[in-house]
């Protein structure tokens, strides 16, 4: 089982090269996936850049050759030799098949190793992770902290340096949980539980959003991901445990209604086993637009 340090270490062959190449563009990419705030994002980004460099090694010469051939063999160039019957060359055929094949062999290795090392289900280290359960709702995110018995809506607060283990499901339609600067995204699907392991190694406020269209309120399904030092995180948990309501069956039913732009808030307690009950479809699914209006099918332009 590779440690997270191993991931970025082993894939880091091209790092200095890449850093040098991208240096001029650095300010533009300060908030991008190329400026990861955790080892998973770093591992993904390195593989992305490695794959790009491997391919550019043949793409750029091919593009230059295209331009050169097109220009040199223009009809008006008397110095170019016209070879009207030159249609086959065994050597070139061999080259033409072997160059892409060799590149794909090489790339195939990167794909195989990368897919296994950076599998989102793969734990990052032996250290005990912080468990977070994610439920995608119409159109908001519910984050449950089962070990701390609190929950929050549309705000994900995590401690820096602690491995995070997410279990994800959806109460209604498909969504994708994605914090670009932390790395890998993963689907949240009704009736299924997916897993994701992340780690934030820099404090900050990172954009989180859904990467799968989920209906009219989709554009509002973003959340702040606040990575803060352990003490501040503990303080946030303590505050959350002290105020707000309890996420019980009735409160959960209210969450099933479609709404947008909910300001973040927390629950001081969570119905035990709520996540599993959602994932196992023991609780009803998101209401959809039906419940709010009778005969919604007749008026096609109605919102919610």
């Amino acid at each position: 089982m590779p440690s997270w340090r191993g991931i970025s270490g082993r894939c880091g062959l091209a790092t200095p090269l890449v850093v040098a190449a991208l240096w001029p563009a650095k300010p533009c990419f300060a908030d991008s996936i190329l400026a990861p705030a955790g080892p998973v994002g770093a591992g993904d980004a390195i593989i992305l850049l490695d794959a790009t460099i491997i391919m550019l090694a043949i793409v750029i010469p091919t593009m230059l050759a295209t331009l050169a051939f097109a220009w040199w063999y223009r009809a008006s160039n008397a110095r170019a030799t016209y070879r009207p019957d030159w249609t086959y060359s065994g050597r070139i055929e061999l080259l033409v098949w072997s160059i892409p094949t060799l590149v794909i062999f090489f790339l195939g290795g990167v794909i195989w190793i990368g897919s296994h090392q950076l599998d989102p289900f793969q734990p990052l280290s032996r250290a005990k992770p912080l468990e977070i359960e994610v439920v995608a709702l119409d159109w908001k995110w519910l984050f449950i902290y089962p070990q701390q018995n609190v929950a929050s809506i549309n705000e994900l607060v995590v401690p820096v340096g602690t491995p995070l283990h997410f279990r994800l499901t959806s109460a209604s339609v498909f969504n994708v949980f994605f914090v670009p600067r932390l790395g890998s995204q993963i689907y949240a699907m009704n009736g299924m539980t997916s897993q994701l392991n992340l780690l934030a190694d820099k404090p900050g406020n990172y954009l989180g959003l859904s990467a799968h269209f989920s209906g009219d309120g989709f554009s509002n399904m973003h959340f702040a991901t606040i990575a803060e030092p352990q003490e501040q995180f503990a303080r946030w948990i303590a505050q959350a445990q002290a105020k707000g309501e309890v996420l019980d069956a009735a409160a959960y039913r209210r969450l099933l209604r479609q709404d947008i732009s909910l300001a973040p808030y927390t629950y001081r307690g969570v119905l035990p086993g709520l996540f599993d009950a959602v994932a196992m479809q023991k609780l009803p699914p998101g209401e959809g637009p039906h419940a709010s209006r009778d005969g919604a099918g007749i008026n096609p332009h109605g919102g919610t």
Binding site: V59, W86, L95, L209, I298
Partner: protein, 668 residues
């Protein structure tokens, strides 16, 4: 019991000025054109020569016309999306979500199924029988049915603008979002029936062309003497036959869920929405190659003709085409690496996907070496082809980037993905169609298109393309996901504004294209193609007059090698005469038939009735469609005769001009 099912006045968007206004304009234009056509007395001509025509050339032209109209419609959607995002920074913009969601769904559906497909199939229709040296496709009336059913689909999609709504689910209606619970309106039903009905048409086209290519080639046209475009058309049609039934079955299951309360893909009751994702991509990925393989064929023809050389490595190209055809069925899972299938599965499909790049890479190099040692003329079709070579290679590269699962974990469903598939579809398919239309236009209409405006179209298109889509790649790196109706991240804004500038540059290209058509029609006498061989072509379509007569060839040609017509021209130059004409005979050609049009007429009512639950109308439509089939099956005279004198007159005239042109050339 409501006689009109779910249809009421509230289906018309009286409260929404944008769709209402655009619908009014479209209706006015359509009515205006119809009145003009009727006033000019052109209705009988249109009915006899076009609407009921079973001539593959006329059907091909109508397919292209439909494709171009829908390309324009889809482009208007694109303009609205880009301008909405440009305005919607910390603001709602001018399109509310329920409208914006319909626009991106319609944009994708229209562009792939009703613009790109008709354009590619249209060129196939026009060119393949000519290149094979035959007089028509295997099943001419079926061909007409295919076309008109595609029209029905396009009509239903556009009707949703005025009556009801279109799907708000994206161009692939993923459940559970597309299930009744989350999409209770008629939008998804419009999608389902429009795609189902036109899908039947596409499947029939696939069967028709596979039969044509396998069974009806001219004398001596062995498989390895077929022009590259025929090979790619064959590969694409085999993909259609294998993939479209999957689409039909998948959409049928979703239809059962929505209409009869089944639970294939629902939340709960044992439904499995992920199965839909699997099935739809088992069609959806081959669909990409259905579009792009014939496009590769077009580029092969154009690059070879304008380099004045045969295609380099023809056998390699055939192998690469069939290789892509086969492997394209083994990669669909790369569309959902991020559902978490695990390392082994992701790695296997990632590697399978990048293996396709081997086939494409081989093709790139073979085009490159076709240019090597050539005498390249930079006519408009060749400009599109070189633009394709330079652009497609990086589009393919970003595709392989997405095929690397860990990279996909960062880029999936982001603007990077949007940029990637527009990159390959615009450079691969749209550029190919533009090259193909410019290349074969003189064959279809007897005059060339204006070169100046054509070149302007190309330069605006390629500039507009880069200025629009490079910013989208960058937005992907900045973490912006697709289909956002509004956003509040300041870093994204400059790039979105730049992309909006880009699409307005692309708009100039569309305007130039329309001007090019108008200018060329006005100057048609100056641009006339007298010989039927305006580009010094190499394959058999250039051996016919422009436009070709209904029977294409007075005598079915005898093919002796790969470059059928080039060979004939070489011999004519050596012997100082074009081969003598054999005696002419009466020719039998298939009679025109309104079957396709009438079938589609009833299919439109069937579709509309199913969408709005108007059951009596659906039953009437079914009876009408079946009756049409029965009437067609009982026809007595399937063919008409073109007398030998008529054939001789047309053929001799063209032969004389052609021989004169060939012999007056300077020997090379």
């Amino acid at each position: 019991m409501n006689l009109l099912g779910k249809l009421t006045w509230s289906a018309i968007p009286f409260d929404q000025p944008i769709p209402l206004f655009s619908a009014a304009v479209v209706i006015l234009i359509v009515v205006g054109v119809l009145v003009w056509v009727a006033a000019k007395g052109w209705v009988p001509y249109l009915w006899k020569e076009w609407i009921t025509s079973v001539d593959h050339k006329h059907i091909g032209v109508m397919y292209c016309l439909l494709g171009l109209l829908m390309l324009l419609r889809g482009f208007i959607d694109a303009l609205m999306m880009r301008s909405q995002q440009a305005l919607a920074f910390n603001a709602p913009g001018y399109l509310p979500p329920e409208h914006y969601d319909q626009i991106f769904s319609a944009h994708g559906t229209i562009m792939i199924l009703f613009a790109a497909m008709p354009l590619v199939i249209g060129l196939m229709n026009f060119v393949v029988p000519l290149q094979l040296g035959v007089r028509d496709v295997a099943f001419p009336t079926l061909n007409s049915v295919s076309f008109w059913l595609t029209c029905t689909g396009a009509l239903l999609v556009n009707l949703s603008l005025v009556v009801g709504e279109f799907a708000r689910t994206g161009w692939l209606p993923f459940p559970p979002l597309s299930e009744l619970r989350y999409s209770p309106g008629v939008g998804v039903d419009y999608y389902l029936w429009a795609v189902q009905i036109s899908g039947v048409g596409t499947l029939l086209t696939g069967i028709n062309f596979v039969t044509t290519i396998l069974k009806t080639r001219t004398y001596g046209m062995t498989y390895l003497r077929m022009p590259m475009f025929c090979w790619t058309a064959l590969a694409a049609c085999m993909l259609i036959i294998a993939a479209f039934p999957v689409l039909t079955a998948t959409l049928a299951m979703l239809t059962l869920d929505r209409y009869l309360g089944f639970h294939f893909f629902t939340n709960g009751a044992g439904g499995n929405p992920m199965m839909f994702t699997n099935l739809i991509w088992a069609w959806g990925h081959p669909e990409v190659y259905i579009l792009v393989l014939p496009s590769f064929g077009i580029f092969s023809e154009v690059i070879s003709t304008f380099s004045a050389k045969p295609l380099f490595g023809y056998r390699s190209m055939v192998i690469a085409t069939l290789f892509i055809c086969l492997v394209s069925f083994c990669v669909w899972l790369h569309h959902f690496f991020t559902m978490g299938p695990g390392g082994d599965v992701n790695a296997a499909f990632g590697i399978a996907t990048s293996i396709i790049a081997v086939g494409t890479g081989v093709k790139m190099y073979n085009w490159l070496f076709t240019m090597y040692g050539g005498r390249i003329r930079f006519a408009t079709p060749m400009l599109w082809s070189i633009g394709f070579l330079l652009t497609f290679i990086t589009g393919g590269m970003t595709g392989v980037m997405l095929a690397v699962p860990p990279a996909d974990f960062l880029l999936h469903n982001s603007m990077f993905l949007v940029a990637h598939f527009h990159h390959v579809i615009i450079a691969g398919v749209v550029f190919a169609v533009m090259a193909g239309i410019t290349y074969w236009f003189p064959k279809a209409f007897g005059f060339r298109l204006d070169e100046g405006w054509g070149k302007a179209t190309f330069w605006f298109a390629i500039t507009g393309f880069y200025v629009t889509f490079v910013p989208l790649y960058i937005l992907g790196f900045l973490g912006m996901t697709r289909r956002l109706q509004h956003y509040d991240v300041p870093e994204w804004r400059p790039w979105i504004l730049l992309a909006a500038v880009g699409i307005f540059i692309y708009l100039c290209s569309a305007v130039c294209q329309i001007i090019q058509l108008a200018v060329s029609i006005c100057n048609r006498d100056a641009l006339r193609d007298v010989t039927g061989d305006p580009w010094d072509g190499r394959s058999l379509e250039w051996a016919t007059p422009s436009p070709p007569p209904a029977f294409n060839f007075a005598h079915l040609p005898h093919v002796e090698n790969l470059e059928a017509y080039w060979n004939v021209k070489q011999r004519a130059r050596e012997e100082s005469r074009l081969d003598g004409a054999a005696p002419y005979e009466d020719l039998e050609m298939p009679r025109n038939s309104p079957t396709g049009f009438v079938c589609a007429f009833f299919a439109t009512f069937i579709g509309f009735a199913l969408i709005w639950h108007i059951w009596w109308l659906m039953i009437l439509g079914l009876i009408g469609a079946y009756a049409t089939f029965v009437v067609f099956a009982w026809r007595d005279v399937p063919e008409y005769v073109i007398p030998a004198e008529e054939v001789a007159r047309i053929d001799r005239a063209n032969r004389a001009v052609r021989q004169e042109a060939l012999l007056s050339e300077q020997p090379t």
